[in-house]
């Protein structure tokens, strides 16, 4: 679909105060991605996709999981949560781009850094979470790409951890105009 930026289109009124909307700075940056990388720039046939892993972790235990990504999965944001009731549901995770053999961090990072405030979703009526939007999208453009996730529980109680990768992807049977894709 050509063009989706509502701010740069003819016959659309621009409110000069729009940039003062009280939304979080990261969200604004993420929203701007839609302007700098609009679907007309090649993402027109893509659809939003939330790839989720959910792992049960023993006390101080760990686990690994792989996600088989849909075609041309383009990672835009990461978030994580755990049921542990200890110190803010503390767990670490490392991500790997399997096909390119790339690590995405030099060591495991605390997932609450990605999850915003109040990670413990077992708490009723807790405040909604934040997430971590990538400043620039990361494209898994190798065929049959995979993300490998290594999760470590840092709590002394068992928990269920969930990590979400938000992005856009082509379906396996999607036909796009650009035959190079």
């Amino acid at each position: 679909m050509p063009g989706t930026s509502p701010f740069t289109r003819r016959n659309v009124l621009k409110n000069p105060l729009a940039r003062m909307l009280p939304i979080h700075g990261n969200q604004q940056m993420s929203y701007r991605l839609g302007e700098t990388h609009p679907p007309s720039e090649g993402l027109g046939e893509y659809a939003p996709t939330w790839e989720v892993i959910e792992v049960g972790l023993a006390a101080l235990g760990g686990a690994q999981a792989r996600i088989n990504l849909q075609r041309k999965f383009t990672l835009l944001a990461i978030a994580g949560q755990s049921t542990a009731a200890g110190f803010e549901g503390w767990f670490k995770a490392q991500f790997f781009d399997v096909n390119r053999q790339r690590r995405m961090s030099n060591r495991g990072s605390d997932l609450y850094l990605f999850g915003g405030s109040n990670r413990n979703f077992g708490t009723p009526a807790s405040a909604p979470l934040g997430w971590f939007p990538l400043r620039e999208p990361y494209v898994f453009d190798e065929p049959d790409s995979q993300i490998l996730i290594d999760v470590r529980n840092l709590e002394e109680t068992a928990c269920v951890a969930q990590i979400m990768f938000y992005g856009v992807a082509l379906r396996f049977n999607q036909i796009v105009g650009d035959t190079s894709q």
């Binding site: 989706t4 993402l43 659809a47 959910e54 996600i67 949560q81 934040g130």
Partner: protein, 154 residues
């Protein structure tokens, strides 16, 4: 500046549902109105308990927006934790898609909600975006006919 011949009107599709305590995959459907396609930009959610999971599917194409290919719990995958998907604007947790998605008119979207709080969960899901109104032919032709006139007058 590009022009795709659509007028955009801000619009919100709102889905209200009460999920019974411990209910598994309670379905609720949203049908895009037949008058215009909808360009989805933001998601917002209010819920009374965060112990809630969500799956979203597109009827017609069979597209699963939320999925997993790995699960270490050995139990059925009931979706993403609702607070990872979206939250309220007040809490700075409205989720921007960054790359919008066009939902065709009349298409039906299914939300499957799973509660684990044990109590009735009052949920509201809001999809924000724009209705895509095709610009009338007369407006387009008027604009195109005006351009040569103004250029010839210069």
């Amino acid at each position: 500046m590009f022009d795709d011949q659509f007028e955009r009107q801000f619009f919100s599709y709102v889905v209200d549902v009460n999920v019974a305590g411990n209910a598994v995959q309670t379905p609720v459907q949203l049908q895009i109105l037949s008058d215009a396609d909808f360009e989805w930009w933001w998601s917002m959610v209010f819920r009374t308990s965060g112990s809630l999971k969500l799956l979203m599917k597109e009827q017609g194409t069979g597209r699963d927006f939320i999925g997993t290919t790995a699960s270490g719990t050995g139990s059925t995958f009931n979706g993403v934790n609702i607070d990872l998907w979206a939250g309220t604007a007040v809490a700075n947790a409205a989720f921007p898609l960054a790359v919008p998605y066009v939902m065709p008119a009349t298409r039906v979207y299914s939300f499957l909600l799973t509660d684990s709080s044990g109590e009735t969960n009052v949920v509201e899901i809001v999809l924000n975006g724009f209705k895509l109104w095709p610009r009338p032919e007369s407006t387009q032709s008027a604009q195109s006919s005006m351009q040569p006139t103004s250029s010839s007058g210069q």
